[in-house]
């Protein structure tokens, strides 16, 4: 697999969303998005928002484009929330073996 991605041959990336966002976007289960080029957080989220515009602003801040404070990103057991949103995601995501998981941080007492 070409980790840099191939704009001519987009890969299919699985995305797992929290229940509130699935309901907002009227989704059931995982959503699959097509990513052309390098598979990064931003590339996946750009593709997700293009497919489901109602999710704009709910994962990344509308103004800054940054991850919202109480959102976390996981691949497997690895928390990628504080890595660069333009770094390549693990190859398992581009290969379709692992979903890119968006999590609402635990809050409350």
């Amino acid at each position: 697999m070409n980790l840099r991605g191939d704009p001519a041959n987009p890969v299919q990336v699985r995305v797992r969303l929290p229940a509130q966002l699935r309901e907002l976007a009227k989704l059931r289960g995982e959503v699959v998005v097509e990513v052309a080029g390098t598979v990064t957080q931003n590339a996946v989220l750009d593709a997700l928002e293009q497919l489901h515009p109602t999710l704009k602003g709910t994962v990344r801040d509308r103004g800054t484009g940054c991850r919202r404070a109480f959102i976390r990103f996981f691949v497997g057991e690895t928390d990628l929330s504080n890595t660069s949103p333009d770094d390549p995601l693990p190859v398992a995501v581009a290969a379709g073996n692992e979903p890119f998981v968006v999590v609402g941080a635990m809050a409350g007492g």
């Binding site: 509130q20 602003g57 809050a107």
Partner: protein, 372 residues
Amino acid sequence: MSGVRLLVGTRKGAFVLTSDGRRGRWELEGPHFAGWEIYHMKGSPADPDRVYASQSNGWFGQVVQRSDDGAKTWSAVGNDFRYQGEAGTHPWYDGTPRPWEFTRIWHLEPSLDDPGTVYAGAQDAALFRSADGGESWHELVGLRGHRTGPTWAPGAGGLCLHTIVLTPGTPGRIVVAISAAGVFRSDDGGETWQPSNRGLHSEGVLPDPAAEVGHCVHKIAMHPSRPDVLFMQKHWDVMRSDDGGGTWYEVSGNLPSDFGFAIDVNAHEPETVYVVPIKSDSEHYPPEGKLRVYRSRTGGGEWEPLTRGLPQEHCYVDVLRDALTVDLLDPCGVYFGTTGGQVYASADSGDSWVALARDLPAVLSVEAQTLP
């Protein structure tokens, strides 16, 4: 026969209650948007099928929903609320400057005559307008750009624009209230604004109790037949203006407490006003644990408690600023929701009350639509 639709926003979703014009039997439907905070829902006066809802939470931010079939089904519309130009700063709680930052929409006010036009009051305080049914939003920047804007400090609930009063017959006049900046009025459709706080007195809250801005106004109500008469529930004090907010005078009269959040006016009697007194700014529940709506039939000053059907012991709930409303039927229906999850209704102008729901999440807002 006409009917009533109640739009109830709560901490964990939206509920819709409907009744025919007798208002004796109600059906409850919901939750819509389960798990989300619904600060406010309101229907278009020009098209009762068009309803807007403000949906938000700390995780996923702000969403605006629109229904075109009377709150049965919903579609998410635009949520891009960007401050225009240089955002600037305002004082934070500790006095340090803090950049203006969008948090949520507290209040949605549909146009009186165009179902596609709606105003939105934001935290941090700003007024947005959509002319395409909520798909896109534009800040009316003259408000936040007022020379006093950089001095506006938040109340305990945040620096929120929570009240938007549109004026029948005078389309250019908009009155808004901001906690804790006070009242502002525009007479040119929101292009330019002037503070409208003369007569307000915030002793112990402001260094200058009669300051031009900085008052913690909680809610303003108006009867459409007399747009120059405004009633206000302030942090403390119930106030009245007879000149469209130009000057205010106190009408708290014999209320057991003049602290509170909600206020509204009877649909057929412009001098009949309702408030729900709350004990104090530190004890947000009714005085003596008795849930009482107070009604003035004299435009304030003289108030009578309305208690029939309401709990008169051990009641420690709050009624928030957007959680009291009236319908347009005769006799006027009056409705309110509590932080304890109750929704109470009166079909006789407040003389008697019944609970329409008792165990909802904390109620943030109640709006009534009178259906043809």
